[in-house]
Subunit: 436 residues, 2 copies
């Protein structure tokens, strides 16, 4: 059988079935899809145009960054060591008022794509202004993404009011309908920045278009307290009354959760996107990951934007998620390596409505694959490759990356993007920000 590509590796971690590590295995790829996973001793039937031998590597599904603001990459390190509201109101929002434009979003998104590819991320779920520019950047990069159709009560360079945000979002949804690697989600910023009427419209349209709703929810205690003071109910309850609690809702952060709210999430099938490093850095609180997992809530994992993290590093995020959950649960068995690897792959795919296409290495799924080299001083010995990926591997150990069978990084060299050009644009934006 003539096929496009055969990847041979020391270890293959398919994610599905769970608790599986294949040794000396191969992945057969054709027309962007996985045909089969099989032992290297059984390759006689396959004649591949390209064969790649990865003797010291793990192959696994590309990581899915389930929550980010790609365009904010040029704001990395612009304002640190500040609480969320000071950070937003006195630093980030004023900077955004200066900078945000179609070009800024395009350049920043390209920067983020370069960083994500170099870190083993094949797909991300985004929320930002001028999302059509992020879509353009993603297409140039060759990545997969869920483009957020942003909604916020404030006027911005992108739109003046709820009606315009919604209109532009629906227009973009239509434009992207036929793209192979792009889907969309509504992205109302947060309960405290979007009023009831647009939220209800979004709930209706999300059903009609069959797309997710991506939203920051219960990020800080202050947000919850303010809502209780002003509206008499906690934000999650308000979203429930507005009809938003469903498997479509991707609730990001969720550091403030009562036990009966977790039960409500379970009943309504709400999905949680966990961003542990952003929550720590902004002192937002601890998401009760172990309780969510025990209750059976599907939890995906995201880095948040570079302005609040300050990196788009899913290896770091997996490690932080695992380490932090143990301390919060007072149980070193909580969030074991396998669980967080699933959070960063199949759980995130499920949250984004993409689990039939990505998140595991299974026949007929898209060939979104990464190779990680484990023969360095930092990564040896390897007793258990799953554990090694989460607790000892850095994103710099990712060597190769494919999306839908197309190679985007080869031996750490970017193929679709020119990082020199991207960085010269980033330096220009920095110059504008500090001089205007």
């Amino acid at each position: 059988m003539n096929i496009d590509t055969l990847l041979l590796a020391r270890w293959v971690i398919p994610i599905e079935p769970a608790h599986t590590v294949y040794e000396n295995y191969a992945i057969a790829i054709h027309n962007g899809r996985i045909l089969a996973l099989l032992p290297q001793s059984q390759l006689d039937n396959y004649h591949a145009q390209t064969q790649v031998s990865l003797q010291h590597h793990v192959l696994m599904p590309g990581l899915i960054n389930a929550h980010t603001h790609a365009a904010m990459n040029p704001l990395r390190g612009y304002a640190d060591d500040l609480p969320l509201m000071t950070w937003l109101q006195e630093h980030i929002w004023p900077a955004e008022r200066k900078l945000v434009s179609p070009n800024f979003v395009y350049d920043g998104s390209l920067h983020a794509c370069a960083e994500m590819i170099r870190g083993g991320i094949t797909c991300f779920n985004d929320m930002y202004f001028f999302p059509e520019q992020t879509a353009r950047a993603v297409e140039l990069a060759g990545m997969r993404a869920v483009i957020g159709l942003i909604m916020i009560d404030f006027p911005s360079a992108y739109a003046q009011n709820a009606k315009e945000y919604l209109h532009k979002g629906l227009q973009l949804h239509d434009q992207l309908r036929s793209r192979q690697l792009l889907t969309t989600a509504f992205a109302p910023h947060a309960p405290y920045t979007v009023s009831d009427a647009p939220l209800q419209e979004i709930a209706t349209y999300a059903e009609e278009l069959d797309i997710p709703i991506h939203m920051h929810v219960h990020e800080t205690a202050a947000e919850v307290e303010q809502a209780v003071a002003q509206q008499g109910i906690r934000p999650l309850q308000r979203l429930h009354q507005l009809g938003l609690l469903s498997p479509r809702l991707l609730a990001v952060h969720m550091t403030q959760l009562l036990d009966d709210e977790i039960a409500l999430l379970v009943r309504q099938g709400v999905q949680v996107l966990h961003c542990p490093e952003s929550n720590l850095k902004l002192a937002s609180g601890f998401c009760p990951l172990h309780k969510l997992m025990r209750a059976g809530v599907n939890v995906g994992l995201g880095t948040d934007g570079a302005a609040s993290n300050n990196d788009l590093d899913m290896f770091g995020e997996m490690r932080s998620a695992a380490l932090l959950a143990k301390a919060v649960a007072h149980d070193a068995r909580a969030a074991d390596a396998e669980s967080v690897l699933r959070m960063a792959t199949i759980n995130s795919a499920r949250a984004l409505g993409l689990e039939d296409h990505i998140g595991s290495l299974e026949a007929n799924k898209a060939a979104d694959i990464i190779a990680i080299k484990l023969d360095s001083v930092e990564t040896l010995p390897v007793f258990n490759p799953v554990s090694q990926l989460v607790y000892a591997t850095g994103r710099q150990h990712v060597t190769d990356l494919w999306v839908a069978g197309k190679q985007l990084m080869k031996d750490r060299q970017l193929i679709t993007l020119d990082s020199h050009e991207i960085l010269s644009k980033v330096n220009e934006w920095q110059h504008i920000l500090v001089t205007t």
Copy 2:
């Protein structure tokens, strides 16, 4: 003036004075010591044998890993997702009974030295069996270290009883007395593994020899509860009664601290060595870093050993320390970037009694220096290099490293160590462990 070396860099962060970043500066080095820091425009008087131009780099003092067990590197990833006592009693101690020997300690320590040099660490404070073998490895590597004179109630391959541990420790102290880069500390393992009599002997000898006492203290709640149940007092109080609470005591972990215990630490001048990632991973608890800092306790930073971390990555540890402190303190301003950079340099130097020699870039101090390159996709833009080092930089961005003016890594290539040879030994130890 003829000198050995001039290092020119875009940024120099001297640590002392605090809150200082020099731009386009140079460091003049002669006979292993820093002669001067000065602007690149004022170099006319210096004629250097070697001049290195680091145009996209930060120069700063080498990082000091204030608590590790270097020899345990070959046990990286051997047992994960387990609580401290299960991890120790059912996995690590049995593995150590199989493996620990002079050769294991030498090979494991070399592995750790290679990892630490590659990660920007110039000095470490160690605790393990056969410490003379760690000393040998450190000398081959060319690093600086404080070698722990281990004491534990259990017999081991190294020594049979308290008397033998102490005797061997004192012997090693004598042997190392004249070495330029090596000093020693007593290293009684923990209150729950060392009895009163040897602790009192150590307290006496530490005064006499003028060296620190390096000890795990209040690592877990269980340790404290058990002590209270068995001896009627908390371990810190017992150490106080035994005369161990002084500026000599380097108390590692300290996740369980009452407010009056913090006051006691301040009164006695005890130094704390913080290991946030190990504490998270073993679910040991949260060290109240912000309270210690506010009280004025000197806090250094360490990675702990590779078996419980699972890396010797001080960049990761700085980031974890900063992020975690904010969440624990409910204050995003807690443990800002500058503070944790000081923890990993001058504070650790002070704890180890080495502040006159290392921990900052000042005239007459040893030339223990690292260069970090900040021109990559992951590290741009640079608004504030201090913040960038803590929140966005990975250890892979360290390019060059000098100890006492001698270069140990050049453009990421190790000079004194052969990583190929080291890793083949590590693979042999792994084979022995899994097959015997």
